[in-house]
Amino acid sequence: MEYEVVVGMEIHAELLTKTKIFCSCPTKFGDPENTHTCPICLGMPGVLPVLNKSVVKYAVRAGLALNCKIANFSKMDRKNYFYPDLPKAYQTSQYDRPLCLGGTVNINVNGKTKPIGITRIHIEEDAGKLLHESSDGTLVDVNRCGVPLIEIVSEPDIRGPEEARIFAEKVRNTLEYTGVSDCKMEEGSIRFDVNVSVREKGSKELGTRTEMKNLNSFRALERAIKYESKRQIIELKKGHSIVQETRKWDDVKGISSAMRSKEDAQDYRYFPEPDLVPIVISDDEIKKAKDQLPEMPEAKKERYMAEYNLPEYDANLITSTKETARFFESTVNLCNHPKQVANWLMVDIPAHLKEKDLTMDTIPFSPEDLAELINLIQDGTISGKIAKSVMEKMFDEEGSPKEIVEKHNWAQMQDTGELKSIIEKIVQDNPKSVSDIAAGNKKAYGFLTGQVMKATKGKANPQLANKIIREVVSKKIDE
């Protein structure tokens, strides 16, 4: 029997606001524990939360970028649960009236476009961090309590681990492009929960699902779904049924395991938040927000193909992250060689970034530097081969391309006189090559060029060297 893997996702992304969702505490990551708190996010009795305007702005922008309908009316609700990661004993979230509804994300799977439905996007507060480092208790850091989140819920339209990863990457890029979240996985500013089930291929009904929460890398996401769907298929083949449960993904061991099951089904007893008033957004405001959306990756890709004549493959890669696209455009504005700029950004730069464990955000040189490097190749100062060595030194932060070329004395020899005397000597020392050429064996030119490059340590301009070799050799033959 053949099985089909069905996945639905919930993506939590922290919004890039300066302050928390209901109070003026900072949202900055990485500060000492419990230094970003106030009576509101500590859950003191009698305090009054007030919604951060930018949270609504960013969430509406995210909704529009993911092709959702923005609700004219939405409201906040309390989700009640006891867990020390939220001191209030409830999370302020949205239940039956979320801010955004019914969107679509188009993903590319094996060259085909496939739409994945977005059920809803709502705004809510993040919970605090529990540290399990004390021997006789659990330590609570409230800094993250109240950091604004959007929760993006997908339809179960995703089939298998690869599609899930592509979908997650697409959503992350969209959020990054629109500037609503920095989507830093390593800081947990974007997290994935997955619902996985399997069913007989062709069946219309959904199988029983299990949930895995807080997967924090694309790799973990893909591996967790691969493992869990296989496990479910094996269970079904043995004639067992799937238990609906939350499972924990262990990325080190590469396995999922059932979490201690709760005796009762979750019952959050949602009710309207009496301390916060509804959000009303007019069609005019929604239209305005739509007009202000930045250019999305797909539109950018089309433009790069039309405006810069880039092949589709290149345009796809260059627009896959906001930073790469920005670097590309800034560089092309300085030196008009789009294809060369794209080549550097697709091949050498990613290789160096990977080796140095950097990203396009932390690349140690500017578009000005890359433009300078390309201009040095274009004006014949250095060869393409030397340029690769210059790039390496740029990653070592040795300075601008010009400074590096000067420091290492890598400029091609432009002095025809000097090059000519080197060539004359080589021709003199290799009479056999000259007689070979005289006898019609043109291959000997290659040997002589090689000798010239060796003598000049690769700094001779190859075209110029070839020209002079031919002159000197024919003169020699004439003698």
């Binding site: 606001t17 300066k18 302050t19 109070c23 003026s24 505490c25 900072p26 000492p32 524990e33 419990n34 230094t35 970003h36 708190t37 106030c38 009576p39 500590l42 007030v50 919604l51 951060n52 305007k53 930018s54 609504v56 009316f73 409201k75 009640n80 006891f82 867990y83 020390p84 001191p87 009236r97 529990l130 540290l131 399990h132 480092e133 004390s134 006789d136 208790g137 659990t138 330590l139 609570v140 850091d141 409230v142 924990k248 201690r260 009762d264 019952d267 007893r269 309207p272 009496p274 916060l276 008033v277 509804p278 959000i279 009303v280």
Partner: protein, 95 residues
Amino acid sequence: MSISNEEVTYVSKLARLRFNEEETNKMAEELGSVLDYVATLNEVDTKDIQPTEHILPVSNVFRDDVVGTPLSNDVALSNAPDQENGCFKVPRVLD
């Protein structure tokens, strides 16, 4: 409209409350009469009334995204029954 002892036990569990049998009986009786009283609202004709989404006739109360001064770590922890390394300390919970 009354409430069963099972419902009382379920709701009290969610609220982390523990009642003995006698208390459970009493709760069921008292909560039942409260619910019966509230249920008289069902007799009101609401045919032409808009559903209430919120108790206040107000919307769009926002604050600007401007950073204020948070509490210092000592002040934040000053009400904590137990603390360690600048953190609130609670009974051990499992992941």
